[in-house]
């Protein structure tokens, strides 16, 4: 085989061109070394996307190995398109979360929509039917000029895709902070259900087997999307619009149904979606996992645009495409099922034993021409696959502890009793807080999502700390219904103050939310959003956040089964708050175990579970609103106490003695109680724990973790007491569900109607009245 050549009209690759594709000088040299010659233009494109931060995890790989990924429930850990955990009876929950931050900032609707499309494909590529999606969103300050347009666009994009394909969007979280002014976050999560024995993997097995292209035709959209996601933003970012892909959820729906039928026909060896770096990464990763090689004939790639070059075909991130390796002789069955669903399908290559990624193309050939020239394919790419994967660059980048800049200030002194309070009118303060964008109702958002399609949503958005979906598990013995609880969490402010504590708190809160829905946590996926890894301070935070996730996952026994890293979330040198978002999937044993947050019956006892507040306000929403800064010392977390609390809540849920459960988080116990009142449409009379010793703000608005407010009928008091004692969890009766007013004894009385009024209008300043 002669050495591959660039095609006529393509630039001759140089260091300068390599730099425009995001490669460093050392990496350019590594390309030359890997090939033993100069690359072709197409080859340079392949190296640049495969070695991009987005695809190679080159700055994070050395750290991610510390995460705990094994456990008895793990069916599939990291490294595949998605992770999977056992949910019993031979079925598993398949899930993953991914970022689509950069595209969503450039074009919010399509960026967010294709983020949803991509994560859905990651899940159904594994052979699982997607059953629920969630998302975690971060926007800049509410009064930033772009915030309304970005919020509207992202929400419409998520809804536009999810609603059309028919996967319910059942939950999520949103935070507004100035650090995201120039770099919003859109993290999309999807979970699906499959038979564990029937999972599909991204492997190009079987030398000689046909490689098949299924789905949308290839266009010029999204070229170098993976590279764009691996760089900072600046004033020129608007010009990156052509790197954003355009989604077609209808095409994806056809692809989903066709894929599930193709999988069931058992005609495939492996399959992978063409996500970031499109045809290139899917081909290379499938061959790498199988230890094979792969040869593509690019002349045969279905296309919708004229005069596509090999470089463009290899780097296009056109959406809704799959690469399949069929069992030899079974191609026609794949073709037939694709035709049933009106999908494009073509055999575009074959599996080889060379360990190399080889692409051929005929110079000047275009099947869209009226009279295409005769085909005479030449080799345009010939790269040893390990150089693109295992032997890709890997950096242990320098770390440096940031200089402490968050000294305690006077506002944070929470002790001294009510007389020392900074807050004079507690009722007004509570109404203002609960009516603010970070603490108020998210109904404007989730009303735009079909959160009930598939007939399975049994705890809807706003009803509980986690969403609960019923899934149908069908096999030869019949159909079993199972209940999955899912939550997604992160508070970047706490991570900013202390990355280990902040990340551990994110894991703990997420697991606590799942437990507060009555479920046992089974597995976790993460989406680690940080600034530039080339800054030692960012790398220091990243490394400690990974440790925090590790330690919390080990303590709470929740393995990490999939994940994603998004670096370079900064604009003009200003990084976002470090935001290691986590999502956890849990299993509710039976429907009666389900818990929701609303106070359910007058006369129920209200109790506080966990160690009571010491008034630590560091990083709290109240303090940020007061000072305009993320400041103070993190309250931190004691993971032993957290574990005991979660075990107690789960035992209480399974004993069916609670009427409600809601964890204390953003806004503190005052906002927690207000939310219980609003969700239940009932008032409460409460003696706030610590109110006599702490300032009003310390007692009411501190966001220390490991606390849950529950309510229960008086006749269950003894059982609740006993279960808490068995688990060593402090229990304090703090009040009773009563009337139509939230009475915080000695501090404030606020009618629930007023709370609801303020809370429901929290996003109005951004998006206008509903």
């Amino acid at each position: 085989m002669s050495a591959p050549r660039s095609l006529p009209g393509e630039p001759e690759p140089t260091l300068a061109i390599a730099r425009t594709m995001g490669l460093s000088e050392a990496e350019w040299q590594a390309v030359l070394d890997a090939l033993g010659r100069a690359p072709t233009y197409a080859e340079l494109g392949v190296f640049s996307v495969m070695w991009s931060e987005h695809c190679s995890y080159k700055s994070s790989r050395v750290h991610l190995g510390r995460l705990p990924t094994e456990g008895p429930k793990v069916v599939q850990g990291p490294g595949e398109n998605a992770g999977a955990v056992d949910i019993g009876d031979g079925f598993c929950a398949v899930f993953k979360m991914e970022s689509h931050n950069h595209p969503s900032f450039i074009e919010p609707y399509q960026g967010a929509a294709t983020g949803v499309g991509g994560i859905l494909r990651d899940v159904f590529t594994m052979g699982a039917r997607p059953v629920a999606s969630l998302n975690s969103l971060r926007f800049g300050r509410p009064d930033h000029p772009r915030t309304p347009e970005l919020l509207r666009g992202v929400v419409a994009g998520i809804g536009g895709y999810g609603n059309c394909i028919g996967v319910p969007t059942v939950g999520g979280e949103v935070q507004f902070d100035p650090s995201y002014d120039g770099n919003i976050l859109v993290n999309a999560f999807t979970v699906g259900v499959a038979k564990s024995a029937d999972l599909f993997y991204g492997v190009a097995r079987g030398v000689g087997n046909p490689v098949m292209y299924v789905g949308a035709r290839t266009g010029r959209d999204g070229i170098h999307g993976a590279t764009m996601a691996s760089a900072e933003f600046d004033d020129e970012s608007e010009k990156k619009l052509p790197t954003v892909q355009v989604g077609d959820p209808f095409m994806e729906k056809l692809l989903l149904e066709a894929c599930l039928e193709i999988f069931a026909a058992d005609v495939l060896e492996g399959v992978q979606d063409m996500g970031a770096a499109g045809l290139t990464s899917s081909s290379v990763e499938m061959a790498a996992r199988a230890g094979t090689g792969l040869e593509l004939d690019l002349d045969l790639v279905p296309r919708r645009t004229r005069a596509l070059s090999p470089y463009e075909m290899l780097l296009s991130e056109s959406q809704e495409r799959m690469l399949m390796v069929a069992k030899a002789g079974r191609e026609q069955e794949v073709v037939d099922l694709c035709k049933k669903w009106d999908l494009e399908v073509a055999v575009v290559g074959r599996v080889t034993d060379t360990g190399r990624f080889v692409c051929k193309a005929t110079p000047g050939y275009d099947p869209l021409d009226d009279q295409p020239i005769a085909r005479a394919p030449e080799v345009v790419v010939d790269i040893p696959i390990p150089s693109l994967t295992d032997a890709a660059p890997k950096y242990d980048r320098p770390q440096a502890e940031p200089t402490p800049r968050n000294k305690a200030t006077a506002e944070m002194t929470a002790v001294g009793g009510p007389a020392s309070s900074a807050v004079a009118d507690v009722a007004a303060e509570l109404l203002s807080l609960i009516g603010s964008p970070n603490l108020g109702s998210r109904a404007w958002i989730w009303r735009q999502y079909d959160h009930i399609v598939q007939d399975g949503t049994v705890v809807r958005p706003g009803q509980g700390d986690a969403a609960v979906v019923r899934v149908f598990c069908e096999d030869t013995s019949g159909t079993k219904e199972k209940l999955l609880a899912i939550a997604v969490d992160c508070n970047g402010r706490q991570v900013e103050l202390d990355p280990w504590h902040g990340a551990a708190m994110a894991v703990a809160e997420c697991a606590r939310n799942v437990v507060c829905a009555g479920a046992e946590p089974l597995g976790l996926t993460d989406c680690l959003n940080f600034g530039s890894p080339e800054k030692p301070e960012t790398m220091w935070r990243f490394a400690r956040a990974v440790d925090g996730i590790r330690d919390a996952c080990l303590k709470l026994d929740v393995p990490v089964v999939s994940g994603n890293v998004s670096f370079y979330n900064e604009t003009d040198g200003r990084p976002i708050l470090p935001t290691p978002t986590v999502a956890i999937v849990g299993l509710v044993r039976e429907a009666a175990d389900r818990l929701t947050m609303g106070f359910a019956a007058g006369g129920d006892v209200i109790a506080h579970l966990g160690v009571r507040s010491r008034g630590a306000l560091g990083g709290s929403e109240w303090l940020v609103q007061r000072t305009g800064r993320v400041t103070g010392v993190t309250p931190g977390i004691d993971l032993d106490r957290e574990l005991a609390l979660q075990k107690a809540i789960l035992a209480l849920a399974r004993a069916h003695v609670l009427s409600s459960a809601h964890d204390v988080s953003d806004g503190g116990i005052a906002v927690c109680l207000a939310e219980c009142c609003i969700a239940g449409g009932r008032g409460a009379r409460v003696k706030v724990p610590g109110a006599d010793e702490l300032t009003a703000e310390g007692a009411l608005f501190a966001e220390e973790p490991s606390r849950v407010v529950v309510s229960f009928a008086p006749r269950h008091a003894e059982t609740v007491q006993r279960i808490c004692e068995e688990h060593g969890v402090p229990l304090a009766s703090i009040g009773v569900v009563d009337g139509e007013t939230l009475v915080l004894e000695g501090l404030a009385e606020v009618p629930v109607r007023d709370l609801e009024h303020a809370w429901s209008r929290a996003l109005d300043p951004i998006v206008g009245p509903a």
Partner: protein
Amino acid sequence: MKIAVIRFPGSNADWDALHATRDVLGAEARYVFHKEPELGDVDAVVVPGGFSYGDYLRPGAIACFSPIVPALRRFAERGGPVLGICNGFQILTELGLLPGALTRNRQLRFECGDRWVRVEGRGPFTHAIPEGTVLRLPIAHADGRYQCDAETLRRLEGEGLVAFRYCAADGRIDDDVNPNGSVANIAGIYSEGRNVLGLMPHPERASEAILGNEDGFRIFEALRTHLEAA
């Protein structure tokens, strides 16, 4: 009792309809793919919700050209009960089996959540529910604003063909409780022959205790008593 649930490309509440009719109602329900030329031996047809053909051109417009449509039309014209839910309602109006059209919601946004609807017109899907009963049913649509010309509206009202109207919890009807700007708060209508019902709310997603709402099941139960009496 045999029920066909038609699957168009882009139907996404097909499972919801199959589950409600087969597993909850206990009918012999099955999918019929849109490329089939015949419905087979069935007593009733459900045209489910979703985004047939991606809502391209107009919701429901392209589904009219699917191979199954002539069989569906014959079934409806022979008086067979047809239930069109959400996108199914949109398809039935595009087919001319129901009058009027469903346009973009007044607020120009997708709207999902429970709404109250008042049961009015009599027919195979409502005869067993007392007139004036208020049901809680979920909606999930971006194009649910029912519109028709004045003459059609007079006929619908005059002949009692308005099956469901958006209302308050106490049955009161005004514009405040109209989730999409539909004319006269119309949520669902019967055909002139009363065998075809189209509605935007999703009764199939409100038919089980575990979902916290069984109001929608009364519509399927009514169909069962209708078919059993026939």
